[in-house]
Subunit: 439 residues, 3 copies
C-alpha cells in the first residue's frame, strides 16, 4: 500500500561505498532500464486487459446476431471457451507456442509455466497474459458460426483442443518462441504483426470446419437451396459488441509491440483508419447491392476493417490503412453472400470477417508494406503463410469436429434446436419477463 522506492534503496546502499564515475553511470543505466521495463509491463498488461474485454464484445455480437431463444447459450460458450481455453493454454498451449522445441516444429517445454525462469524474469507472466487472450480470441471465433445448434459439451471439448493445440502450433510457426529463435514462417519473413492470420484466419477456418460439419440451422435453407434470413434478436446488443471489440482491438494491435514505445502511435492510427474504411465501404456496398444500408453488414464492415489491418498495422501507412479497410469492407459483404450461396450457415458472418478478411489483411501487409511496397518475394511469403494457415487449421478442425460428433455428439436434436438452446442446454430463459415472437 505504501510507496517505497526500490531504486532509492539501491542508491542509499551504493552511497556506502565510493563509486567511480563509470560505476555510477552503470548504476544509472540499470535504473533507467528498470523504469522502461516497468512501463513495458504496464503497457502490455493494460493491452491484455483490453483484449480480454473483447470476449465481452464477441459474446454480445454473437448473441445479438442470433435468436433470443439461444441468447444466453452463445454467451456462455464465449465465457467457457475462455475459461477452459485459458486453463488449457496454461497447461499445454503456451509451452507448445513459446517453449523451447526439441522437434523443431513446436515447443516442447514450459507446460504449466515450468522451465521458465519465473523467479528471475516475471516477464513470462506478462507475456503469457498477453498471449492467453490472443489464444482465447482465436478460439472464440467459431462460437458465432456454430451458434444455435451446437451441443454445449461438444463445444467445451473443442475449445480445449483449439487452445491447447491447433492455435499454438501455427502460432509457433509464425511468431516463434519466447527464448529460442524464430518459427519457420517468421524465418522466411512472414509479416503478421498482430495476427490477421495467426489469430483471425485460424479462428475463421476452424469456424468454417465447424459450420460445415454441423450443417445449417433448421429453416435456414429452402429445398431449392435459397436462403431465408434469420435476423438477429438484439441489434443494439450486437452494436455494443462491435464497439467493445473495436475498443479492445487497440490493445490487440498497439499492444502487440509488448513495449511502451513510440511505435504504438502509428498502430493506433492505422487501426482507426482501417476500421472506419471498413465501415464506410461496407455501408456503400450494401447500399448499392441491397438498396439500403444494412445494420448488421455495416457492423461486420467495421470488424472487417479491424481484422484487415491486424497483420500490417505497424508497417502500412495511414493512406494504405484506409485502402486495406475499404477492401475489407467490400470483401466481407461478398464473402458472406458467397458462403450463404454455397449452403454454409454462419449466423454471424465469422468465417468471412475473420477467415477471409484475415487472409486479405495478411496479403495487404505484404502488398502495402511501407518499407518495400509491392515486393513479389514478400507477397509470395504472405501467400504461403495464408495457405499454410488454411491447410493446417481447416483439416485438423474438421477431424476434431468429426471426432466430437462421433463420440459425445456435436449437434443438438432438432427438437432441442427448435426449443432453443437456452432451455434445452441450460434449463433457463434469457428473457423470462418479455413476450417473445418469431422464435
Amino acid at each position: 500500500m505504501r510507496r517505497e522506492s526500490v531504486t532509492r534503496i539501491m542508491i542509499a546502499a551504493s552511497a556506502a561505498v565510493v563509486l567511480s564515475a563509470a560505476e555510477s553511470l552503470a548504476l544509472e543505466d540499470i535504473m533507467v532500464e528498470e523504469v522502461q521495463a516497468n512501463a513495458d509491463y504496464i503497457w502490455t498488461l493494460v493491452a491484455a486487459f483490453l483484449v480480454f474485454f473483447m470476449q465481452a464484445g464477441f459474446a454480445m455480437v454473437e448473441s445479438g446476431f442470433t435468436r433470443a431463444k439461444s441468447a444466453a447459450n452463445v454467451i456462455l460458450k464465449n465465457l467457457m471457451d475462455f475459461s477452459m481455453g485459458s486453463l488449457a493454454y496454461w497447461a499445454i498451449g503456451f509451452g507448445i507456442m513459446f517453449g523451447i522445441s526439441k522437434t523443431g516444429w513446436f515447443g516442447t517445454s514450459g507446460f504449466f509455466f515450468s522451465d521458465f525462469n519465473i523467479d528471475r524474469d516475471p516477464w513470462v507472466f506478462a507475456f503469457w497474459m498477453f498471449q492467453v487472450v490472443f489464444a482465447a480470441t482465436a478460439t472464440t471465433i467459431a462460437s458465432g458460426a456454430m451458434a444455435e445448434r451446437t451441443r454445449f459439451i461438444g463445444y467445451l471439448l473443442y475449445s480445449v483442443v483449439v487452445s491447447a493445440l491447433i492455435y499454438p502450433v501455427f502460432g509457433s510457426w509464425a511468431w516463434g518462441s519466447l527464448y529460442k529463435g524464430s518459427g519457420w514462417l517468421e524465418g522466411l519473413g512472414f509479416i503478421d504483426f498482430a495476427g490477421s492470420t495467426v489469430v483471425h484466419s485460424i479462428g475463421g477456418w476452424v469456424a468454417l470446419a465447424g459450420a460445415v460439419v454441423l450443417g445449417p440451422r433448421i429453416g435456414k435453407f429452402n429445398k431449392d437451396g435459397s436462403a431465408n434470413p434469420i435476423p438477429g434478436h438484439n441489434l443494439p446488443l450486437a452494436a455494443l459488441g462491435v464497439f467493445i471489440l473495436w475498443f479492445g482491438w487497440y490493445g490487440f494491435n498497439a499492444g502487440s509491440t509488448t513495449r511502451a514505445t513510440s511505435d504504438t502511435a502509428l498502430i493506433a492510427v492505422t487501426t482507426t483508419l482501417s476500421a472506419t474504411g471498413g465501415a464506410v465501404f461496407a455501408m456503400i456496398t450494401t447500399w448499392f447491392k441491397y438498396r439500403k444500408p444494412d445494420t448488421s453488414i455495416i457492423l461486420n464492415g467495421a470488424l472487417a476493417g479491424l481484422v484487415g489491418i491486424t497483420a500490417g498495422c505497424s508497417n502500412i501507412s495511414p493512406f494504405f490503412a484506409v485502402v486495406t479497410g475499404a477492401v475489407a469492407g467490400v470483401l466481407v459483404v461478398y464473402s458472406a453472400a458467397f458462403f450463404e450461396r454455397i449452403g454454409v450457415d454462419d449466423p454471424v458472418g465469422a468465417i468471412s470477417v475473420h477467415g477471409v478478411v484475415g487472409a486479405w489483411g495478411t496479403f495487404a501487409a505484404g502488398l502495402f508494406n511501407s518499407a518495400d511496397m509491392f515486393n513479389l518475394k514478400i507477397m509470395g511469403v504472405q501467400l504461403l503463410g495464408i495457405a499454410t494457415a488454411f491447410l493446417w487449421a481447416f483439416p485438423t478442425a474438421f477431424i476434431l469436429f468429426k471426432s466430437i460428433e462421433r463420440t459425445v455428439g456435436l449437434r443438438v436434436s432438432p427438437q432441442e434446436e427448435l426449443q432453443g438452446l437456452d432451455y434445452s442446454e441450460h434449463g433457463s430463459a434469457s428473457y423470462p419477463n418479455f413476450t417473445l415472437t418469431n422464435i
Copy 2:
C-alpha cells in the same frame, strides 16, 4: 514479439568509444527523456482508447432514451459519424485545427498527415489519435437531439462537415496548433482544458441547430404547445451508456495532459467529484420538482457533472469541483424543461447536457480558478469564448442543416417516421424476437 532494448544497444555502441563524464551524462539525459516520452505515448494512447469507447456510451444512451423502432438507426449514426468523421478529420480537420496557418485564422497545412515530420516525430500520430476521438465526440452529440426523424444520408453529410470544418476551426482558436503559436482565444488566456466549450458546447449548439431545423417528432407537442413525454425504450441500456461515458471521460479529462505526469491525479479527482455532484443534485432537483427521482434525469445529471468539470478539471479544487457539478446537475433539469417549453424536441437532452452545461463549465473554470479566483478579467475572457462558440457553431450549423434540407433532404417522411427508422432507413428491426407495444 521479443523484447530488445534500444537503450541497451545505444549503451553497447557507446562502449566502443571512451566517453568523458560529461558525454556520458548527456547520454543518460537522452535515455531518461526517452523513457518519459514512452510513458507519454502510452498514457495518451490509453486515454484516447477510453475516449473512443465513449462512442459506445453515446450510442447506448441515445438508443436507450429513444424508441425501439429506431434503436439501431441511432446507433448506426454514432458508428458512422465516427467513421465518416475520422476520415474527414484525417483528410482536412486535423490540418485546419493543428496545421500551420497561412491565414492566421486556422491551419492550412497537414492535410492527410502531409507536412508533419512523421518519420522523425511519431508524436503527431499519438496526438492525432487523441484529437480524432475528441472531434468524434463533438460530432456525435447532435445525433441524440436529432434522433428518430433524420435521414441517414443527410446525417452522414452533416458529420463530414462538422468533423472537417466546424469543430476544427473553433478548436484552432481555443487550442492552437501542434507547432505554431496559440490560437487567438488561447492567447487571451481562455481556459478550456479538456473542452467544455471546444467539444461539448460546440456539439450542443450544433445539436440545437439540428433540432430547430428538423422540428419536433410527430406527437411530441400538442396544438396548445404542451409536450407529451416519449419515454426511452431501454433504460438499462441508457444507464450502461452513462457508465461507459463516465469511464471514458477519465481519458477525456485526465488524458488531456497528453503527458504522463502527476498532474493527472487531481484531474481524476475533480472529474469524479463533479460527476457525483451532478448526479446527486439532479436527483434532488427532480425529486422536488417532479416528486420522484426520475431515472433519465439523474442519468443526465451525472453527464452534466462531467461536462461541467471538463473545462476546469485541472485548475479547480476538489471542493469547487463538487460545486461545479452540483450547479450543472440543477441547471440541466431546468434547461431541459426550458427547451421543451419553447418547442425544441431534444429526445435525449443533448442540448442541455452539452451546450448549456458546457457553457456553465467554461464559466466555472474561470470563476473557481484555484490560482486566481473570481478574477473579473478571466471571467470576461471565459464569457467571450462561450459567446464566440455559440456565434460560430449555431449559425454555421444552421446553414449546413438548411443546405442539406434543400438538397438531399434532412427529414424522413411522416410515414417513415411512424414506421420507425430501423425499418424505413435500414430495412430491418432491432428486436425481431420481441413483441413491441406503444411504438
Copy 3:
C-alpha cells in the same frame, strides 16, 4: 496541449552552473525517480478507472438477475451509492481510513483532503482515486441482495454510512494509513492484498444484514419454507456485467500494487486463472447438482473465482490460483443453496459471492502463501481477520438497517413491490416499448 519537458528545463537551468560529477549523478537520480513516479501515477489511475467501470458491471449483473419491473431502480441504486458514497468518502471515509489517528483505532484527520500535503504531494489524489472506487465496490455489493424491495431513500442513507464509516474503519485496521504506521491487523501480518475481506466480505456481510432485516421478496418462499425461483429478466445483460466486472478486476487486483512494477504481471495471471477455475468448477458443480449447467450459477462462479483470488493474488502461485478459484466455484453453489434454505432471499447471490467466498479467499491467501505455505500462525491471523470483519460489519450494518427501518423506512409497501420499483419509486418503466409477462 503542447509537450514541454520539465526535466529538460531543469537540465537547461543546471547547465548555467558547473556541476561536479557527483552533483550531476544526483540530478540524474531525481530525473529517473520522477519518470518512475509518473509511471506509478498513470498505472494507478488507469487501474482506478477500470475499478470504476466495475460499477457498470455490478449494475448490469444485478439488473439482469432481477425482474424487468425494477430494472432501472437497481441500476440507479448502483449509480447513486457511488455518487453519494464518493462524496461521503471524500468528506469523511478517506480520513478515517488513511488519516493520522489520534485514537489508535482509526484515522481522525484528512477530511475533505485537509491535512494532506496536497500541494507538495499530489500522490494523495491518485491514492484517493484508487481508494474511492474500492469503497464504492464494498458499498454497492448490498444493492443486489436488497434488490426489488428496498426504499430508494433508505438505500441512499445506507450508502453514505457504509462509505463514510463501516468500510473505512475496518479498512484502517487492515490497510493502515497513508502516512502513519500500519493498522493493527496489518501489524499482525494479515494478508489481504486487494481486499477479499476488506472490500468483498465487508460488502457481503453488510448485504446479509440488509437481506435479513428486509426479509424475502413477496412470493420467494412458500409457507413450508421451500423456495420459488424468480429468474432474472435479462441474462445477456447479466453476462455483460460479469465480463465488465472481470475486466475491471484486473485494475482491482493488479492495480493494488499502486506502483508500475513487474509485480503486476503475476497478479494478472493469478486473477485470470482463478476466475477461469471458478467458472469451470461452478459449471461442473451445477451440472452434477442440477443436471444442467445453469447460466446464472456459472456467471456467479466466475465472480467467485475473482473474489477468491483477491486477497492472495500477489502471493499465491499460478497453480494454487487455479485451486483457489476452483474451490470458490464449488463453494458459491452450495453457499447460495444454503442461504436460500435458511430463508434469506438474496436475488443475485451477493452474500455468497462476496461474503462467503471473500472469507475463503482470505483464508486461501494464508494457506497457499508461496513464501511460507500452510503456516499455522499465518492461517490463524487470517481467521482472526475473517472473524473480525464479520463481527464488525454484520452487527453495525444490522443496527444501521434497523435504524433506517424505524425512521425513514427500509422496505416499500407490498403494493409498491408488486408494481415494481421502477414505477413506484421513479414513476417510469424500464422497457415501455416491450410487452412484458410473468412480472
